[in-house]
């Protein structure tokens, strides 16, 4: 996929995800992603973070200022009740609907994205696809068997159960921040 295509998909994604109250950023590399994380931590006055594990997460967190923040990467169930922010990497992003796709078979992936009031997801920009069906095909293609738990996430948790008034943040996160990283680990996007 060329840069033009990626830019187009990103723009569609951003528009769609913002329409369902997500916040979307795009950064050059893990160092910039770290800066963005730092800003989020400061703005929201975050002190406890739980994180799932991946290379990209490690690099971006490594670049963030975590001086005032305690980051838990293990025993998440124990720390999840008090965590302000959960951090995870999404496997794919669907432009058409502004949706993140995540193989959430590992318990950690689910805990960080369901319990804390804020969920921050990192995505490799090259993992944008256009349609829902593209995401399903890619998942099928890349894995020997269907993952045990696939999560599609579009915006924060919401309800309209009282008088049809839309309210953001019921059982899941009240805020969803999505950071696209163009050059994870420094390599170029083709």
């Amino acid at each position: 996929m060329g840069k033009k295509d990626i830019d187009r998909l990103y723009n569609v994604f951003k528009e769609q995800a913002e329409a369902v109250s997500a916040r979307v950023y795009r950064v050059k590399d893990p160092r910039d992603a770290g800066r963005r994380l730092t800003q989020i931590f400061q703005e929201l006055n975050v002190s406890n973070v739980i994180t799932a594990q991946s290379d990209l997460l490690r690099e971006c967190l490594g670049a963030a200022d975590t001086g005032k923040v305690t980051v838990y990467a293990e025993n998440l169930r124990e720390h999840s009740e008090d965590a302000h922010l959960g951090l995870s990497e999404a496997d794919l992003a669907i432009a058409e609907t502004g949706t993140l796709v995540q193989d959430s078979t590992a318990l950690e992936q689910r805990l960080v994205s369901t319990l804390p009031p804020v969920h921050v997801a990192l995505v490799r920009t090259g993992r944008l696809v256009e349609h829902f069906v593209d995401a399903l095909e890619q998942l099928n293609h890349e894995r020997a068997e269907l993952p045990g738990y696939i999560a599609f996430i579009s915006g924060p948790s919401r309800t309209a159960d009282i008088e049809r008034v839309l309210t953001i943040g019921v059982h899941g996160p009240e805020q969803l921040h999505i950071i696209f990283v163009d050059r994870p680990g420094g390599e170029q996007v083709e």
Partner: protein
């Protein structure tokens, strides 16, 4: 109190509930636009064709798919239990909970678990089963039942919710919605963290992979399926599809049709058990139990007509567009599944007797059919339900006499109408009947009735029609229908005048009688079939090239329902098909035969008009552009009203059975008409003409209401301008 009186009382209570009507009305209005936006760029017809094919095939092979699903899910480590009845499902879950020492259960929303009254059962056995969907939790705390399949607590106000929550948390809460939601989050979070078992439903179950798909917005299903070490999914067998690829069209349609969202916040696909944290701190695979619930579904599947209902994806769009549901909400339906499709599902899951009264609530406007993403002909299923109820219980006395003795005997029927005309005289003022004896009181509530005409159209025809002077004299048979024949003969006159202007010769086969729709809607297929045969024979004798009618309800019966009614007799079926092929509604016929939708040789009008799309005109015949083109071409300025295709509330005898519902629907329509500032209301249905002109008259409004045929006829040179 009989079930029937119970239903009437429930309707009265619902209509008196301002909260309910306010919330449902606001949602119903916003829904149409939101849904349309969500479907932008998608081909709804194609999508629902795909869903109908997928779900139809799955219903056909339900047993095989259940077997394959069980096999696939087991190979991924899930335990699958086939429950034939509600009791089997309840017992399995109870026993499992007892074995595991479970006391605390969290539930995410599941219609199937409501259908089997699972909560009550578990609570009776000493377990705490908490609903975690916000709406469901509100209802659980207040001891109420859901009033809508997707928005269960839509009938409650924020103030009522605040009262319910205040009692739960033992302090007075304000009625600020975000605050109430926060309280629910805090309270239910504790429940999630402490729960030993999570119970969910599923929106789709994939046989090929053993996957269940769950669609939510609040995120409660994700917590329910993540935190407790035991997960039980209660899945109705109609949720099965064959292949993983089949989920795509269903997931595209479900949120769009349900709430006007392109996608819900969360879509979860679960294949086999995944790790959970156990109380001892260890993390290992949880137990996943999937209960495939039959409870009436296989008997539905083996029914040649009702198996279509298994194509339902539970989006509730049929409720959202239903003019009756919008007024009365789900509670009057008395069961878990509400609205049109709910009536059919209730018949199979809870018994035919339960459904026999609530099916009466259907107006027959057929709006739901246009919106159903499963492409289910819901009105047809309700008619069939009605037919079977009549088959079992028989018709009540008076309708039975009219349908079986009077209607098939044309002369008796027509003589009775003439007698009724004589009887109405003392109550008549101008062209409207204002007061009727007590027993017909329901008829005039909020609407004046028109008087039965001095001379029916059939008598006028016999005395005075001349063939056209020019043109090719194409022979067109006119089917009047009862309202045109006996109440609005001027419509027949207008049709005749326009056809003559077009150089065509109109004939009126005098042996024609009622189209049979009242019999179809009353559930008397036998009487309807007899009327169909009489009408077909009458027009065959006349040897006409085209058959036209000014009534879309008659046209729908003649064109679409006669073939179905006479299906069992090959000879009659053929005749019905030949007959049906010639039938057109007057307005579509004129548009088709005239120049680019413009009838030549008319004087130009200049009035500002608004046009009402009759349910059967737009919904069943698909005619909506033609009248607008003809009227605009005749110089009239069209000011569109809000919701031009919303029902006027007539529905034939419906306005007699449920006068209060009919009147409320009428009120809404009249307000929309008035807001346009039009000088005239145009329409194409004598039934709507009766309802709307009567409604305007009883409110003292002088706005003229005209059929397209009358407007065109008036503008033919020499008739004076409209």
């Amino acid at each position: 109190m009989s079930e029937k009186e119970g239903l009437k009382n429930n309707v009265r209570e619902a209509l008196a509930n301002e909260n309910l009507r306010g919330a449902l009305g606001r949602f119903g209005d916003a829904y149409i636009g939101a849904r349309e936006n969500a479907y932008a760029g998608k081909d709804f017809q194609e999508l629902r064709g795909q869903i109908a094919a997928i779900k139809g095939a799955a219903a056909q092979n339900m047993e095989e798919l259940a077997r394959r699903f069980a096999e696939s899910a087991r190979s991924r480590g899930a335990k699958v239990y086939r429950a034939r009845t509600a009791q089997e499902a309840r017992d399995y879950i109870k026993k499992l909970a007892e074995e595991k020492g479970v006391r605390k259960i969290v539930k995410s929303k599941s219609m199937a678990s409501e259908e089997i009254h699972l909560n009550e059962y578990l609570n009776q056995h000493g377990m705490e089963s908490v609903e975690t969907d916000l709406g469901e939790w509100i209802l659980q705390l207040s001891g109420q039942k859901p009033s809508h399949m997707v928005m269960p607590a839509i009938h409650m106000t924020r103030g009522e919710v605040a009262d319910v929550f205040s009692e739960e948390v033992k302090r007075q809460l304000s009625s600020d919605i975000p605050e109430l939601v926060r309280v629910a989050r805090e309270q239910l979070r504790k429940k999630f963290l402490a729960a030993e078992m999570g119970i969910s439903g599923a929106n789709i179950a994939v046989a090929e992979t053993g996957t269940i798909v769950i669609v939510t917005n609040e995120g409660n299903a994700r917590l329910t399926t993540t935190l407790p070490p035991v997960h039980v999914a209660v899945v109705g067998m109609e949720k099965l599809v064959e292949k993983f690829a089949d989920v795509k069209p269903i997931l595209e349609a479900l949120p769009r049709s349900a709430t006007g969202q392109k996608i819900t916040s969360y879509v979860t696909m679960i294949t086999g058990p995944t790790p959970a944290a156990y109380p001892d701190g260890s993390v290992r695979d949880k137990e996943l139990h999937i209960i495939l619930l039959d409870n009436g579904r296989t008997s539905m599947q083996s029914d040649p007509v009702f198996k279509e209902a298994l194509q339902c994806i539970r989006c509730a769009s049929c409720l959202n567009v239903c003019p009756v549901f919008q007024l009365v909400g789900g509670h009057v339906y008395g069961h878990i599944y509400t609205g049109g499709i709910g009536t059919v599902l209730t018949a199979f899951f809870n018994g035919f007797q339960k459904a026999s009264d609530i099916q009466n609530l259907c107006l027959g406007c057929e709006r739901c059919k246009r919106y159903c993403p499963g492409n289910i002909d819901i009105p047809r299923l309700i008619r069939e339900l009605r037919r079977r109820v009549v088959e079992n219980n028989g018709l009540p006395g008076m309708p039975k006499f009219v349908l079986e003795k009077v209607l098939p005997n044309r002369k008796l029927f027509h003589n009775l109408i003439k007698t009724a005309r004589a009887a109405q005289k003392p109550f008549q003022k101008g062209a409207m009947v204002r007061h009727l004896p007590m027993f017909l009181a329901g008829l005039t509530e909020g609407r004046s009735l028109p008087a039965i005409a001095e001379k029916p159209f059939r008598d006028i025809v016999l005395t005075g029609h001349r063939p056209p002077a020019t043109g090719d004299q194409t022979k067109v048979g006119f089917f009047a229908g009862c309202l045109t024949d006996f109440v609005y003969p001027q419509l027949g006159e207008a049709v005749h005048k326009v056809l003559r202007h077009m150089g065509m010769r109109m004939t009126f086969p005098v042996e024609q009688t009622c189209c049979g729709v009242p019999a179809i809607y009353m559930g008397s297929r036998k009487a309807a079939a007899e009327l169909a045969r009489r009408n077909i024979a009458a027009f065959e004798r006349d040897g006409v090239e085209h058959i036209i009618t000014a009534c879309p309800t008659c046209a729908h019966a003649l064109k679409h329902q006669y073939v179905e009614l006479l299906d069992t007799d090959p000879g009659w079926r053929k005749r019905a098909e030949y007959f049906a092929a010639k039938v057109t509604h007057f307005t579509a016929f004129v548009a088709e035969k005239s120049d680019n939708g413009e009838l030549p040789g008319l004087q130009r009008g200049n009035m500002r008009i608004t046009y009402h799309d009759s349910c059967h005109m737009k919904g069943c015949l698909g005619i909506t552009e033609e009248p607008r083109a003809l009227l605009s071409a005749a110089g009239l300025q069209l000011a569109e009203m809000e919701g031009s295709d919303r029902c006027c509330g007539f529905g034939g005898s419906y306005s007699i059975k449920f006068p209060e519902i009919s009147r409320r629907i009428l009120d809404k329509k009249l307000a929309a008409i008035e807001a346009t500032g039009a000088q005239m209301l145009a329409l194409d249905c004598p039934g709507c003409l009766l309802q709307l002109s009567g409604g305007l008259d009883s409110r003292g409004k002088a706005l003229p209401v005209k059929h397209t045929a009358e407007i065109l006829a008036q503008q033919i040179a020499g008739s004076g301008k409209s």
